[in-house]
Symmetry: C2
Subunit: 447 residues, 2 copies
Amino acid sequence: MRTRPLKVALLGCGVVGSEVARIMTTHADDLAARIGAPVELAGIAVRRPNRVRAGVPAELLTTDATALVKRGDIDVVVEVIGGVEPARSLITTSFEHGASVVSANKALLAADGAALHAAAVEHGVDLYYEAAVAGAIPLIRPLRESLAGDKVNRVLGIVNGTTNFILDKMDTTGAGYSEALDEATALGYAEADPTADVEGFDAAAKAAILAGIAFHTRVTIDDVHREGITEVTAADIASARRMGCTVKLLAICERSADGRSVTARVHPAMIPLTHPLASVREAYNAVFVEAAAAGQLMFYGPGAGGSPTASAVLGDLVATCRNKLASTTGPGESAYAQLTVSPMDDVVTRYHISLDVADKPGVLAQVATVFAEHQVSIDTVRQQGRNPAADGVAVEQGGGGRREGGEASLVVVTHRAPDAALGATVEALRKLDTVRGVASIMRVEGE
Amino acid sequence: MRTRPLKVALLGCGVVGSEVARIMTTHADDLAARIGAPVELAGIAVRRPNRVRAGVPAELLTTDATALVKRGDIDVVVEVIGGVEPARSLITTSFEHGASVVSANKALLAADGAALHAAAVEHGVDLYYEAAVAGAIPLIRPLRESLAGDKVNRVLGIVNGTTNFILDKMDTTGAGYSEALDEATALGYAEADPTADVEGFDAAAKAAILAGIAFHTRVTIDDVHREGITEVTAADIASARRMGCTVKLLAICERSADGRSVTARVHPAMIPLTHPLASVREAYNAVFVEAAAAGQLMFYGPGAGGSPTASAVLGDLVATCRNKLASTTGPGESAYAQLTVSPMDDVVTRYHISLDVADKPGVLAQVATVFAEHQVSIDTVRQQGRNPAADGVAVEQGGGGRREGGEASLVVVTHRAPDAALGATVEALRKLDTVRGVASIMRVEGE
């Protein structure tokens, strides 16, 4: 074993960074044995050097991240700052000074992965980022390496723990969105500003990264259709239950039937309770990968948190250090396929639509006609009280569902159709005199 | 991209080999793009060259495997023959002639992995074998690389599809072992001679491989405690149901509490229906990995079959070809930890014991005394009719459970204790006059 240590610079020392520093210290011997040389933490760039960080050597702290990565003796830079800048400049500077980079930065990679990969290649160094998607769950490496001889057709998963916690709470307790968000915030599952999570930005970044690797095609977050969970109501969840479903925020990356284009999207969807993703509870993540030869694989585990994310970072650190010792680099970007990334309109899916309608004869016929005009085939229709929570009664089609005031509810579940046709159907339904309002629209997946 | 192709020799052209050959032909462009050079199937060694193999170029077939790997122009040898010889000699000869090897051979690797790894290192080539464990499910690479910076404490999984199919049938239909085996054979899930599967040899080989990688310690199949499923009865499964459990054949590799030793074992065990492994149906495989930082991860997918295994082989083929092009090798054996592999006696687990006892006062006291004498603490005791399938009634402790003929059944579930103590307890119970027989013993896991 080489005795001269490999030098590591750590950028950021928050929840993840401090855990990386801790494990590098406490497990130094194991890491050395697995790498073939000792690794030394050479410096830690932080914004607030006076903050107490248990187990983190204070003498290594610096506020000058740029100077740290420019030192010239750094072999690997671990970037756990997050956000686009200054992370991007620091990573680029690291490459220029010969350092490989291990990053957990999903936002940056989803925005600008191609340029970063190109810069790494230019300087003959590695860019690894297993920690950017689904915490400790090995996903990047299995997709990039284990399935390198296969054809991935679909990646479907729960990749954001915060929203899964919120939806799980809503499902198990009947709570509304705000109440569940409050609980998530109180327990530390949601940040003070939860926008990135609840509006689906975090999941969309991960979807872009996964789609790019799975389909050997460049996909950025701008290519990803994104809807968050802020409009999911207790009534939606109750409605899902009546269908034998639950509601999850899914990231779905799919190859089209003809194989020439792909789509990537993040939105809440109903999935059957019998689907393995339905039983993913609290802040856990799980991702299904469907490949032509492998069939259906699932990867499950903690999708966030200091320790799990540090585990992924350290796995990449060992790999990049080994590559450094062997004077080689690992597999980088693979975007040769250059498939078209199609918009949401082209996605083929199913809708669950809840309508408030006038309670008079002929309404169902009118509604059904609109679906037919848009070539959208109806799977089931159910009439029910508009506010099931109030009267507790769901009346099947053909029965009553009639309420004083002359209103009823119609719940329509469609067969699979292009999202554009489904969207146009809903627009046309809104224009019907007999349709008082569209109470909710949700896609149905996982069947 | 390099235009001169990398040459691949395929040893064996059965269910897996023919699928490897087919995908190498139909997906040649994708493989070339991902590797950075075309790959050419240079020869296929088979025993019966006249057998029809759809999609396999007949001109590549040869019966002389040794001559094929000795050609001198082969970059990678794919070994899907199975068994110890001639596979071992062919792999060694391949190394000697400069070829990396991709193997699906769990028996050989579990028996002699260390020597093969040493030979690969000696000749500066790769030995990869993702396909040897759990078919298409990425496990070797995640354990060896993704978790390289973490400390794995436990690997627990269903790694044999045949036995899972049989136990699943027994559980869902109430069938006995023989009947379920017959169905598995008829459907092609079990081989004509099912010994390797049903006696646990296949799972034990996989446990040895997983334990070795997880704990950075040499573990061979001889270190693995092994019990098959041939003695699992419909009554055992029914008994498990009454406990809210099902029966699975588990491979369990554990680090001891003090961290200094490990154990590896394969045996049928009861696991709670709420455990994710309980819902692994038919011939699927699933493996839990518990690591210090990552927490609990699960990997799920098809554990066998031509296409899934070919997917794993081809992933390794891409990796070894990339390494060849870069004149490097990937991570090999890591056995630096040299932990003691402890025998089954040292495993701490729980027993579910079903006893046929005389129906007279004081029996429970006698039985409880034997447990106490062996320092085994009892969790629950239940008296019931000896053959619940016949009378359909399970009577709780303190109630009847009495039958004509003066016999009753006692079901005891213990707390966790060393396997040696549990085994000694059962031996002592057998010697009691009031114990007519020990109807079944099964470990309880996953809690």
